[in-house]
Structures are given as C-alpha cells and as structure tokens.
C-alpha cells in the first residue's frame, strides 16, 4: 500500500513564525503536491513537484515556498505565518509522467492554527 505521511496532525504557531510542514511518501513516486483545504472552497493547489529539486507554483503560492531535496520528501514552508494561513494542509503523491499521471494518494493532513 502507498503510504503518505505528514509530520504533524495538529500544529499551533504564532504569527510571524517560520513553519515547516513535512511530507514523506514511501512508493518512489515522482510527483508530489501540497494543497490547502478550507470549508466551502475545497482543495486548492499551493505547489507541486515533478522531480527532485523541481518545483512549480500552483494556484495559491503566495506566502509559501517548498523544498524537495530527496525524492520521497516534500516540504512546505511558511516563511512568516499569518492568521489567514490557518487551514488544513494536505500532501499528495503520484507516479507517472506527462501525459499519463496516475492516481494521487493523500496524506492524513495537518491542521495548522496560526494565532
């Protein structure tokens, strides 16, 4: 079974703190994604990566950055957390390359609260 794990289920941070959300997958997937999930808005793509050291902006990248130094790990960084970044963050991974991408597998999510 594919396993996507996220470093924390719940996280509470202060405004202005630097926040790291970690995601690890164990199936050698090429592609990894970070989404945020908000009520009434569904999931929105923040950043994604098709390979190590590669990153591409999603639909809402402002205020976030990412790092992918190893194939299995994809980190989301909030350089200076703000209250409007309070949300559920979901990581996903998939195998495949253009144009055939396979199913995305999701992690359990990190519920981040910024005070």
């Amino acid at each position: 079974d594919v396993k996507v794990t996220q470093s924390s289920r719940y996280l509470v941070k202060r405004t202005g703190e630097k926040v790291f959300l970690e995601c690890v997958q164990d199936m050698d997937h090429e592609n990894m994604f970070w989404y945020r999930q908000d009520p009434g808005l569904g999931l929105r793509l923040i950043y994604f990566s098709y390979d190590v050291k590669m990153k591409e902006k999603g639909d809402i990248p402002e205020g976030y950055s990412v790092s992918r130094e190893k194939k299995e790990r994809f980190s989301l960084i909030l350089e200076s957390a703000s209250t409007n970044q309070t949300s559920m963050y979901l990581c996903a991974s998939s195998s495949g390359a253009a144009p055939s991408y396979n199913e995305q597998f999701f992690g359990p999510g990190t519920r981040l609260t910024v005070l």
Partner: protein
Amino acid sequence: AQTVTQSQPEMSVQEAETVTLSCTYDTSESDYYLFWYKQPPSRQMILVIRQEAYKQQNATENRFSVNFQKAAKSFSLKISDSQLGDAAMYFCAYRALAQGGKLIFGQGTELSVKP
C-alpha cells in the same frame, strides 16, 4: 480557467437508499479526466472512481457509478445501497491532460447516512 462546481454543500441519505451527488465543470480542453474522492471524518482522502473524457461509457465501481454528460459538462456520482461507512466529504476533481498532474477540486459535498 477550468473550474469545478459542487452546488450541494450537504446531502443526507437513508441507509440502503440511493443518493446522487452533483458536479459540473467548465473547460475548453478536450482531453481530461474526472474523479470523485472521498474524505471520511479524520481519515485520509481516497479515490472512489475516475472517468476518462474520451470514454462514452460511464464508470462503475461496485456500489458507486457516475453519470458523465460531456456536452453538459456534468459528472454526478450515484451511491447505491448506501452504508453508514459512506458518510464522508466527497470531492469532485478534474485534470486536463495538457495541464500535467494538477487536480482542480470542487467545494465538496458532505454526505450523512441515517440508520
């Protein structure tokens, strides 16, 4: 820009009955995939069913089936013989072949199942 709309924030069904969740999408692409994902309470999101746009036949997975109307850009999910374990948030999602592995999600429909 592609969009996905789920107009039913909440739905309810009696156990053993059938329920249909609605989804519409907007795209100018001709090659794309559509998905339904299920997110049970406090559990990871999983893929329920997928549909390739070039296929006229509606996809079916056990008690789950879709009604894909390409001209109307409609993609509804039918759950037959509903079970208590079907209670979850359901997300409709879209992926265009030309857009790589990126998924665009709808707002979600929260389904409750009454015993």
